[in-house]
């Protein structure tokens, strides 16, 4: 039976820079998939594009392509990435320019049609959780994008593009695209599509399925310094194997794959994507040799009538300050310091939407479950965050932490590194849009198009 291999190069923008290079050089692969867009990334890209209309994409991606271009061209490896963000055309152009400078010829596809910001002016986009009206944030919207599916990626690959640069697409659809293209799966072959989506879900977060962040038995995972990122070996009938390159660190086992299957899901019988609704409870896992897990039997049903939409909007300002408190009574002193800060905020009349104080070492991750007085604790970190609509109030607060070193409870340190900067805060507003309002588009840029 024919098979193809798809490698995940990144789990997020900021992931290990060497990982995609090692995926290309460490063994045979047909496709390399790279995810750059977290929920909030679009608001960052919107700011960059506003400042310079030729930006608005993940600039790490052309930098990566520059390192692997001769190799992917000579071996025919195709690359699919959502690095295009809000400006996939500019992203593609910068790649084609790189190729031209090296005397290489290349065809890059641009998938667009996801940017629906103009529609937010007069359409309702009720919040997915609770149904609040878009009117609440309409005048503060910085970006609005529909999560496209695999259709346009299939079209781009059919036209012989070496690299496919997209804006917002559903992450697992970047894996389903090459599968549908390679095996000629029909767009309504729901079980096969669901299998491809599960394959995508398992590798879209990079090393999280090959031994990273593994809580089953982390000491059993060898050589995370050289962790092999996951690779899907997929077959025409929809079955696939999760694996990694030989002679890499990490671990692919049923347990590591299971942890990724349950990552960021809701109802496991209805995993919604633009391509299909997949049923993760239908998958059968079996061992297929060292660092190989086979998955069969995945079922799916008809794609939903809507695309999911992610809208980002300006929300306000924030600062986070920290201070270390040493034994004795480190926790109690950190809490007393937080009370001083709250009093001073009141006395100054600073207006904040919310204030959050945590004692790292006592209650930051697990709340009251672990928040016990522990007088012998060697040291803790007080972390104090404020957020509000007025930049000047947030800025004024940044001057309040350092004075506690001389004027608060004893044995506080590290204030110099603990004065936070004021940062802008963007909110994330999920919604839905009817499929009929969206037209995914594919265009191409080749070396000969450049002047």
């Amino acid at each position: 039976m024919r098979k193809i291999t798809i490698a995940a190069g990144h789990g997020f923008w900021g992931d290990w820079l060497e990982a995609p290079i090692r995926q290309v050089t460490g063994g045979q692969i047909d496709y390399l998939m790279l995810d750059y867009l977290a929920e909030v990334t679009m608001s960052v890209l919107a700011k960059q594009k506003e400042a310079n209309p030729s930006l608005g994409y993940a600039r790490d991606f052309p930098a990566l392509i520059d390192r692997i271009l001769p190799e992917i061209i000579s071996r025919g490896i195709k690359v699919i990435s959502n690095a295009g963000g809000l400006n996939p055309t500019a992203c593609a152009e910068s790649i084609v320019r790189l190729a031209k400078e090296r005397g290489l010829s290349i065809k890059v596809a641009v998938v667009s049609g996801d940017d629906i910001k103009p529609l937010t002016r007069d359409h309702e986009f009720a919040h997915l959780e609770g149904g609040r009206s878009i009117a609440e944030i309409r005048d503060r919207i910085t970006s609005a994008n529909a999560y496209l599916g695999a259709d346009a990626i299939v079209q781009a690959l059919s036209s012989g593009a070496q690299i496919v640069v997209t804006g917002r697409v559903a992450d697992p659809s970047m894996v389903l695209g090459p599968l549908r293209y390679s095996f000629n799966w029909r767009e309504d072959d729901w079980n096969k599509l669901a299998s491809g989506i599960l394959a995508g879900h398992i590798i879209e977060c990079g090393a999280q399925s090959s031994g990273g962040n593994f809580s089953g038995d982390w000491r059993s995972v060898p050589d995370l310094a050289h962790v092999g990122f996951p690779i899907i070996e997929a077959y025409e009938n929809g079955d696939f194997v999760v694996t990694k390159h030989p002679n890499t660190g990490g671990l692919v086992s049923q347990a590591t794959v299971k942890e990724q299957m349950v990552y960021e899901i809701g109802d496991p019988t209805a995993y919604y994507t633009p391509d299909v609704i997949a049923d993760f409870t239908s998958a059968s896992l079996s061992d297929d040799g060292p660092d190989r897990v086979k998955i069969t039997g995945v079922k799916g049903r008809s794609r939903p009538p809507s695309y999911k939409v992610s809208i980002s909007y300006f929300h306000g300002y924030r600062t986070v300050s920290t201070l270390v408190y040493s034994w004795p009574e480190a926790i109690a002193k950190a809490k007393a310091a937080a009370e001083i800060l709250r009093t001073r905020i009141r006395d100054l009349g600073l207006r904040f939407e919310k204030i959050n104080s945590e004692v790292i070492g006592a209650n930051a991750c697990h709340g009251s479950l672990t928040d016990h007085e522990s007088p012998s604790m060697p040291e803790v970190l007080l972390r104090f965050a404020v957020q509000g609509p007025e930049e000047k109030d947030v800025k004024r607060f940044t001057r309040e932490m350092a004075p506690l070193v001389l004027g608060g409870p004893p044995f506080a340190t590290a204030y110099a590194g603990g004065k936070g900067d004021v940062s802008e805060v963007y909110g994330y507003w999920p919604s839905l849009i009817d499929r009929g309002l969206i037209t995914p588009k594919v265009s191409y840029i080749t070396t000969s198009d450049l002047k």
Partner: protein
């Protein structure tokens, strides 16, 4: 029957979707899965996360991988970008759940 910590029976991973977190709890053996199904209820998880999860808790079953999935609504202080918490994305909620003790 004795009290046992979930970390001895299961492993887990958690993450965010907006202002909700989800925790996948995976039994280390098929037998433990039966114990998890019986003992780790949505109501019990809601009580365990008092002060962290302010909304409802939903529970889903994945018998094929001996796992339960919990969705904790309104558990991230406004969600990924608006949250002021250290763990704005609920990455450690899995560990919080593994501290829970059940009869097994």
């Amino acid at each position: 029957m004795a009290k046992v910590k979930l970390v001895d029976l299961a492993h887990a991973r958690s993450g965010d979707k907006g202002n909700n977190s989800n925790i996948g709890l995976i039994a280390r053996t098929p037998e433990y899965y039966e114990a998890l199904k019986r003992e780790v209820t949505a109501e019990g998880v809601k009580r365990h996360f008092a002060g962290i999860c302010l909304g409802q808790v939903e529970r889903f079953e994945l018998p094929n991988i001996h796992a339960l999935n919990f969705v904790l609504h309104d558990s991230l202080d406004g969600g990924g970008t608006l949250s002021l918490r250290t763990d704005a994305q609920g990455k450690t909620h899995a560990a919080t759940l593994l501290m829970m003790e059940i009869e097994a």
